[in-house]
């Protein structure tokens, strides 16, 4: 189970094709074929069906482990190479869209004032991508958000060693188009909305699967799926009546929309900071700015 073999296994399933995976990895299709054959011999089972390429049951099991393994391998390398460059002049911050608040922006100006020269890089991406970015060292520090019971930590997939700190908590709201019949209410029971029209935008809003898990119902079925990390697109969709989404209350400035806080069950929108166990110096500075006041 050489990591190289796992990597091509994942690539083959990503591309649903041996030859496409080969060119993506810079191998020849023969090499890819041999990699898969080697894995199948090693594990004593067929892992893939060919034509069309699809995982067998055994392949599905392997696919549950392989990406996590490869991620952690990258994380280990990142943790070590970070030690080489202890005082970098660059800080890369990965943000989930709804986690980037005025408070964070102010912390960045404070950081600029006290640390210089400082080359700031900001990247917006989905929550899981933030965690991956931080663990693999592509970003130095990250901001994630999600729904949780008050003062509970966010449920984070534990893919490697990292430290998280809460930095903000605020009411969780459902964003309605301003002419929606419920838009004038002052409080909401989330479960009452399970059959409403929802937009699934897991990269920006609270994922619908999370709402299902919280309410332990089978509702919250999406009418429309928004892939991407742009909040503006999402609020515009909501304003146009394509469906609802759960967002932090402070995102109420979107035109033609009205947020209504969820009062039951007791939930908050929580923002957390995540950084490696041994962060770079600027990352540590930003972390202390965001957590101390």
């Amino acid at each position: 189970m050489d990591p190289h073999l796992l990597r091509t296994f994942v690539a083959v399933l990503d591309h649903r094709s041996f030859s496409a995976a080969a060119s993506a990895l810079g191998y020849t299709q023969s090499a890819v074929s041999q990699h898969i054959a080697a894995l199948e011999t090693d594990l004593g089972t067929r892992l893939l069906e060919r034509r069309p390429v699809a995982p067998t049951p055994a392949g599905e099991r392997l696919l549950e482990h392989a990406p996590a393994l490869l991620l952690r391998l990258d994380a280990a390398r990142a943790d070590i190479t970070r030690l080489h460059n202890p005082h970098p002049t660059q800080l890369t911050l990965a943000c989930a869209p709804a986690s980037f608040t005025p408070k964070v922006a102010r912390a960045l100006t404070d950081l600029r004032a006290k640390t210089h020269p400082l080359n700031l890089r900001l990247r917006t991406m989905a929550r899981d991508a933030v965690i991956e970015d931080v663990l693999t060292g592509k970003s130095d520090i990250g901001l994630i958000d999600g729904a949780a019971a008050p003062s509970d930590p966010l449920p984070v997939p534990d893919l490697g060693p990292a430290t998280t700190y809460p930095i903000a908590e605020e009411p969780l709201a459902v964003l309605f188009p301003h002419d929606h019949p419920l838009a004038m209410r002052h409080s909401l029971n989330l479960a009452d909305l399970s059959q409403a029209h929802w937009i699934d935008a897991p990269d920006t809003a609270i994922p619908l699967g999370r709402l299902r898990a919280i309410t332990q119902t089978d509702g919250f079925r999406p009418r429309l799926h928004h892939h991407g990390s742009d909040l503006h697109t999402l609020t515009t969709l909501i304003a146009a009546g394509h469906g609802l989404a759960a967002l932090p209350l402070s995102l109420s400035s979107a035109p033609n929309t009205t947020p209504v806080p969820i009062t039951h069950p007791r939930l908050t929108h929580r923002t957390e900071l995540i950084h490696p166990t041994t962060p770079t110096a600027p990352a540590r500075a930003l972390a202390s700015l965001l957590t101390s006041p």
Copy 2:
């Protein structure tokens, strides 16, 4: 970062010696030296100090990842090979000591009655070892225990895909020698005992580090450390006045000891079942026996 190299890296640090690691792994000492050299070249840093053998800072980082990686690699292989033998006649159950209750024993007799032939194997070990055993397929199913807030799940290190079910909850108690001044009380505030004499027995009782985390204090310092998974030894130590330990209330039958339930903070002793995402048939049967009634 070949897994073989990581394995010898871990072995070298386990044995604090290249040559000892070599003989443990069935390699020659030269091969071990080459493995470490290859890792160090690949990562561009020295990972170990020699004579005496000790990890450098970079080596410490790697040591944080390598065992988890190797474990997950084994877990992946176990998940796949399990598919090969779908109706095994053997069931291996891994138990943390305080998780093996009369209820579990009864479930095993029920299982015997309805499934046969059945070759039962029972293994007692520390909680972390149970999880590792289940993930790597050395045991088919496991029982773990710990302290948690009522109806909260146990905090389990997420080392791979597995399913957990709660199977029992009961009061958490401190076990005193029967002549201890506090042994006649009916309720306890855990924080009041932070400066008492404690026995750290992480494999059998609630680990003292967990008590520190729960109370957010710096107390609960051990006077004596008990390594091993035998509850009898622990209760005998307590009876002899060597110190206290936190255990489930039902373990009150130990001679010359008295359990007093912890009433503050609100805590329970919780037992959970853990099995792979795709358990073997007997494991599934036992799981349904333990969870349904």
